[in-house]
């Protein structure tokens, strides 16, 4: 568990004037799941594409299993599994045919059929083996997409938002499969902007924003790094006047929408005062909820914007 299977150091990649990946460094050990957490456009997919050896970096180094990923890309690709963000499948082919095809590309010849069936079994699609992909639901396609990435039993698995747009049941299955894979010793890099998934399956988290790693460590470490303060989410019938919470020490607004506000406060003792002020402001309190600090709060605390907010280009 201590040997770093993936080592990334000072990775840089730009598209014209826009810096997509800016001096990113991290490592992943065998059997470890590292989450890349960041909003859309933060540079997660570019980082994974460089790790998958399909994109050349402008600078920095990537070593996988001790080999330079750029110089020995051909040899490393068979040890890599890549699950792209899109459903990268041939729609008119059956699930089995898709899997067999990618298994053969990964070097499995006669074993391709067996590996494909095993992968289908792993993602719970054995019964749909001969069905065309286009007849499957979104969740099934996502699971098959994952199966195509793991059909050859990779040492390093790169997952780029594998649960986008899937139903809760499929998401649950996918997360369970990924957890199982890590137990076989695979080093997994899991890119997502779903904080809950990271909190649930990742051993470590890298918060990425605007191409840079702004924080790294376990979930607790990152939350602690951001201060670990609770937050209040409150909804009004009408629009609350600006500064209705002014004067309370340690309280700051994280987000504000018409009829809704998210406030971070220093300790739970301030809660009753905050609620009284809300009732007194005349907007009419509709509902409220108090949350313990999480990664999303930590991200917002560290970057000043939410995980779900797309990156706004500075230039």
């Amino acid at each position: 568990m201590d040997a770093a299977l993936v080592e990334v150091s000072h990775l840089r990649k730009s598209y014209g004037p826009r810096m997509a990946v800016d001096d990113v460094s991290f490592s992943v050990n065998a059997g470890e799941i590292v989450g890349l957490l960041g909003p859309n456009g933060a540079g997660k997919t570019t980082t994974l594409s460089i790790l998958a050896t399909v994109l050349k970096p402008d600078g920095g180094k990537v070593r996988i299993a001790g080999c330079d990923a750029q110089q020995r890309a051909g040899a490393l690709r068979r040890r890599l599994g890549f699950v792209p963000q899109s459903v990268a499948l041939y729609p008119s082919l059956s699930a089995l045919q898709n899997l067999e095809l990618f298994a053969r590309f990964h070097g499995l010849a006669r074993a391709a059929r067996g590996a494909a069936m095993a992968a289908l079994e792993a993602v719970g699609l054995s019964e749909r083996a001969n069905d065309a992909v286009l007849t499957m639901s979104g969740g099934m396609k996502r699971r098959l997409n994952l199966a195509c990435g793991i059909v050859h039993g990779p040492e390093v698995l790169l997952l780029d938002e594998p649960t986008v747009g899937v139903d809760p049941q499929s998401r649950e299955k996918i997360l369970r499969i990924v957890g199982n894979l890590s137990q076989t010793g695979a080093a997994i890099i899991y890119s997502t902007h779903y904080m809950e998934e990271v909190e649930r399956i990742c051993d470590r988290v890298l918060l990425i924003d605007r191409g840079q790693v702004i924080a790294g460590g376990t979930v607790r470490e990152i939350i602690a790094l951001a201060g670990g303060q609770p937050r209040l989410e409150i909804s009004f019938h009408g629009e609350a006047p600006s500064g209705w919470y002014a004067g309370l020490a340690g309280v700051r607004e994280l987000a504000c929408e018409p009829g809704k506000a998210v406030l971070q406060f220093a300790d739970l003792g301030q809660l009753s005062e905050l609620l009284q002020r809300a009732r007194a402001c005349g907007a009419g309190v509709l509902e409220f909820s108090v949350h313990s600090p999480n990664l999303s709060d930590a991200f917002m605390s560290l970057t000043g914007h939410g995980l779900r907010d797309p990156v706004v280009e500075s230039n």
Binding site: V54, L55, R77, R78, P84, A88, F105, H106, G107
Partner: protein, 562 residues
């Protein structure tokens, strides 16, 4: 509802203005296709163009008709002539000149035959693949033949009218002469009648006199003959009588001797008794008259009667015939006979077309359209297959996944192009097979030879598909751009109509598209019926253009695949 309709109406325009592909298909694509078709076919619709057809002419006649025809053809607008020595050179000329759809051969003896009233034929050797252009020229040739025939006929009719007038004059003179002859003949007939009557009278008199004289002479001769015969008869009768008297005396002596002997012999025998047997032979009887004497008695009396000397009538008629002279004809009949130089109405100048190539003359329209539209749809299918296939794989993410799976970019491109190349070739084979079965298209002497240009164009289409994929980038853009490129290449390259219809600049541009060379190869093999060797160069050019497309596509695809 009206507000909804208005909003949707405006929004549709807004969406359309944002959709470059839709705008491309809406305006640019049809404009390009319309321009190509319009430029190509404007000659058919009679719009003046600066195109000039060149017609190689083989003059084996060197007569007036040949000269007239060559002059007439050369004066036709937009037609030039190229005199060549023989049909072989004419064939080479047509093969190497796009603007030469046919060759004309004027056979030896055409002028002579035409002038003598026959209907000689000009031979028009047509290149089957330029049949439509040749037909337009044949129409003009037909008109020229008709005009030449009409002019010759008018000239002959004028000459004939002059001869008729001269003949009419001669006939009038002949009528006058006839009257004169009639008068003289009447006089002659009267003279003849008179002479005949006189001669008949003279002949009758002389014949009567001669007959009377002859009767007299005959009578005298007969009488002389009768007298001589009487004398001779009396002499002969006296001789007969003397002979009869001698015979009568003998017979009397014989009867007396017989009686004396009988008595003597009886006495003798009685006297002899027993010696009667020793009695000697009695004496011999007198000899009877000889046979000649008896024959003379029985022979008829012959009279040496000789025919009289008959008088011979004189054979000459001493008649003097009257002299009747023939009337003198003062008209020279030779003048009245039509002269030998009477003009003959010339014949009809016609023409017959033949195929200049080994293939048949009459081209099945499907011989043009099966390969033409086969190439068009091959282009569309292969272009779309390669370009849409690559873009789809890019969009689906399978291209990236294939790369991560260890597939090389070169291998992916080669595999995709090879698949589409084979599919395109199979499509052509199926279309040609159906064309042969259903429409009876010609497959040439060696049908398998069609695979060569088919393979070349399928390769070029696959390579061009790679270029389109790199240019268009999106599926929405590939479909219109690919379709327009395929249609434009097909139209310019002569897939939809013979390339000879196109203006010069368009034919020059067409040398840079593979469809031109492929259609040339198909036409040579199928319609012209030429051997495989003729398709080698077009196929090589198609393949070469495919290599150019491939080079450009590979260079552009590295950027695309990133």
């Amino acid at each position: 509802m009206q507000r909804t309709a208005a909003l949707i109406f405006c929004n549709d325009f807004r969406v359309l203005l944002k959709d470059r592909s839709a705008l491309f298909m809406l305006f640019l694509a049809p404009i390009v296709i319309i321009a190509v078709a319009g430029f190509s076919l404007r000659n058919i619709y009679g719009q003046p163009a600066n195109r000039v057809y060149v017609i190689p002419i083989v003059d084996q006649d060197h007569g007036t008709i040949a000269q007239a025809l060559i002059k007439a053809v050369s004066h036709q607008p937009s037609i030039e002539i190229a005199p060549v020595a023989d049909l072989h050179l004419a064939r080479s000329y047509v093969m190497t000149h796009e603007r030469a759809p046919l060759a004309i051969v004027i056979p030896a003896g055409t002028s002579a035959g035409f002038e003598s009233g026959l209907s000689p034929l000009i031979l028009v050797y047509v290149d089957p693949i330029k049949r439509l252009e040749a037909s337009m020229i044949e129409l003009r040739l037909n008109e020229l033949s008709r005009q030449i025939t009409a002019i010759a006929h008018r000239r002959a009719q004028a000459a004939l009218a002059q001869n008729t007038a001269a003949l009419r004059v001669r006939l009038e003179r002949l009528a006058d002469a006839e009257k004169t002859i009639q008068i003289e003949l009447a006089t002659y007939r009267q003279n003849i009648t008179r002479s005949r009557l006189a001669m008949e009278s003279a002949v009758r008199d002389q014949i009567r006199r001669d007959v009377e004289s002859l009767q007299r002479q005959t009578q005298a001769a007969v009488e002389r003959s009768i007298a001589a015969a009487r004398v001779e008869l009396a002499d002969k009768l006296a001789a007969k009588r003397q002979a009869l008297t001698a015979v009568d005396q003998y017979l009397r002596q014989l009867q007396a001797s017989e009686r004396d002997f009988d008595r003597w012999f009886a006495d003798l025998k009685a006297a002899a008794g027993s010696y009667a047997g020793r009695i000697p032979t009695p004496p011999r009887w007198p000899a009877p008259p000889g046979k000649d004497q008896l024959a003379a008695l029985s022979s008829p009396i012959e009279l040496s009667f000789s025919s009289p000397a008959w008088p011979v009538p004189s054979t000459g008629l001493n008649i003097r015939f009257p002299r009747v002279s023939l009337p003198e004809l003062k008209i020279a009949l030779a003048d009245l006979i039509p002269q030998a130089s009477t003009p003959v109405l010339p014949g009809v100048l016609g023409w017959r077309d033949r195929s200049l190539m080994p293939g048949k003359l009459e081209v099945n329209s499907f011989d043009q359209y099966v390969p033409g539209f086969g190439i068009t749809f091959l282009l569309i299918d292969v272009l779309w297959g390669v370009s849409v296939g690559l873009i789809d794989e890019h969009d689906w993410g399978t291209l990236q996944r294939l790369q991560v799976s260890g597939a090389t970019v070169g291998g992916i491109l080669m595999g995709k192009m090879l698949a589409r190349f084979v599919i395109g070739l199979m499509q052509l084979i199926v279309l040609f097979a159906f064309g042969w079965l259903l429409f009876g298209i010609a497959l040439g002497a060696h049908p398998w030879a069609l695979l060569l240009p088919g393979a070349a164009v399928s390769f070029a289409a696959a390579a061009f598909g790679l270029v389109i994929a790199c240019v268009a980038r999106t599926r929405d853009a590939v479909l219109p751009i690919g379709a327009m490129a395929a249609m434009a290449m097909s139209a310019v390259g002569g897939c939809w109509w013979p390339i000879g219809f196109e203006p010069s600049w368009m034919r020059t541009a067409a040398l840079w598209v593979p469809t031109t060379w492929t259609m040339r190869a198909f036409n040579d093999l199928m319609i012209r019926g030429l051997p495989l060797s003729t398709a080698l160069w077009p196929a090589a050019m198609t393949f070469g253009l495919g290599l150019v497309y491939l080079t450009v596509g590979v260079a552009a695809s590295s950027r695309f695949l990133q």
